[in-house]
């Protein structure tokens, strides 16, 4: 039997929870009666994320996302949906890229940061569109 450390690549850079969120994304799919949707993409990698929110009385009552791409972009989106569900918009506004990197809990180089924050950018666009709309 192979030793786990020989078997395991990257000394755990892709932590179990990232792979788990990538393989079994939370809140994935279309949201019926979404108040607002925003789709953003990262042309460099082909990552695509669409965030869909249902807002009620300034609260994010429900959230879903659609997307495809690398593990980091998809896991970050999945984690972000868990993070914001049930929170009020003002609270969610303060989420920044550092929070995303903390959630992922892995070292992220400058190139891959774009993957990590794609869902955050889509979320922010959703929120600013509500205000404008």
């Amino acid at each position: 039997m192979e030793n786990l450390s020989q078997n395991y690549i990257g000394e755990g850079i892709y932590k179990e929870n990232i792979l788990d969120h990538f393989k079994n994304p939370r809140n994935y799919g279309n949201l019926d009666n979404a108040t607002i949707k925003f789709k953003d993409s990262n042309p460099l990698c082909g990552d695509v994320i669409e965030m869909q929110l249902k807002i009620n009385n300034g609260m994010i009552e429900d959230v879903r996302f659609l997307g495809r791409g690398c593990a980091i972009s998809q896991a970050a989106a999945s984690m972000l949906t868990e993070e914001i569900k049930g929170k009020n918009i003002e609270e969610v506004k303060s989420i920044d890229r550092n929070n995303i990197i903390e959630m992922l809990n892995i070292p992220i180089g400058p190139v891959r940061v774009k993957c990590a924050v794609l869902s955050l950018i889509a979320l922010r666009n959703c929120i600013s569109n509500i205000k404008n709309g």
């Binding site: 990257g10 850079i13 792979l19 990698c45 690398c70």
Partner: protein
Amino acid sequence: MQVQTLNVNEIRKDFPTLSKNVNNHKLVYLDNAATTQKPRHVIKAVQDYYENYNSNVHRGIHTLSEEATLQYEEAHKKVASFINAGFEEVIFTKGTTESINLLAYSLSEWLKENDEIILTEMEHHANLVPWQQLAKRKKLRLKFARIKEDYTLDMDHFKSLLNENTKIVSVCHASNVFGTINDVKKISELAHEYNALVIADSAQVISHMKIDVKDLDVDFLAFSGHKMLAPTGIGVLYGRKELLKTMQPFLFGGDMIKEVTFEESKWNDLPWKFEAGTPNISSGIGLGVAVEYLKNVGMNNIKSYTEELGKYALEKLKEVPGIELYNPEGQKTSVISFNLKGVHSHDVATLLNHEGIAIRAGHHCAMPLMNKLNLDGTSRISLYFYNTEEEIDKLVESLKKIVRLFE
């Protein structure tokens, strides 16, 4: 099987970066189509220029400037002989991109509305965007020769695009994504029947095989120094002398003129007519040294070694479960694109990097091609004559681990 036409262990000692560690692993550098590593000889030549005879070229009447001029011109001669061109036919640019932009600008004067330019679907953006933008400005028609399902060029389709309105045929000599080598000689022959000008983007082949511009019978040929052991910021445009003589310069200013009055200017002799401003002297000299180095190793040796190693890599990669390979049917290539089922290429590259393995991932500056093939990107390895079978084995082991991780 044995890949050993070269003494690779000795060769590797010439390349300082190859002995580096990355993430506590010995570097395995498989991104040579992006840029090659540099031998000490080239690094030393650049340093030597700055330490011993740094000065401007073609200007100063002093010892240092004379030395710099001599070395810079010598580099042109070396490159000219390397591709069997005349000294006046070799223009130093900052790279393939600038070479092609130069052409798109200077040739535009000869083009009129409804003239046609033919490219292929496998172009790098460098040989696509300049023509696309020119076509928009001058209302030209831009046509693309199709890529077949086996990742080779559809020559019948290419032929069908040729007609009396075809003025320019600009093709990638080898695809930077699939390693497909296009039959530029045949393309030239066909295009010349319609008196079209033929341009080869040879950025991906110049470091891998002997290029003879006369034999290929192209009108122009472009390549970058940094993909052939030279520093960045230097590249080449070859052009047939008769054409370069009549073409308008691309950049205007110092060094490209013979005589200037307040009203008029007379252009300098070739190739300087196309090298305005102080050139990238150190990199130019470095390019000359790189060419010498390649000649010493032998272009035929390089070709057979990298082809054999490519064959080895292709066979080994087939061992990886769920791998999808995009290699051209029946061609020997040292560039191999692939995907692992269910894993994005950027994840592959990130994880390989953690084991010290450098590969390229993404769209490889060929977005229209990726869209056509419905790919978000690929992982790509590109080999050179300092790579080894052991490095391929290491790559394949790591890829197997990635597959297990994502299972």
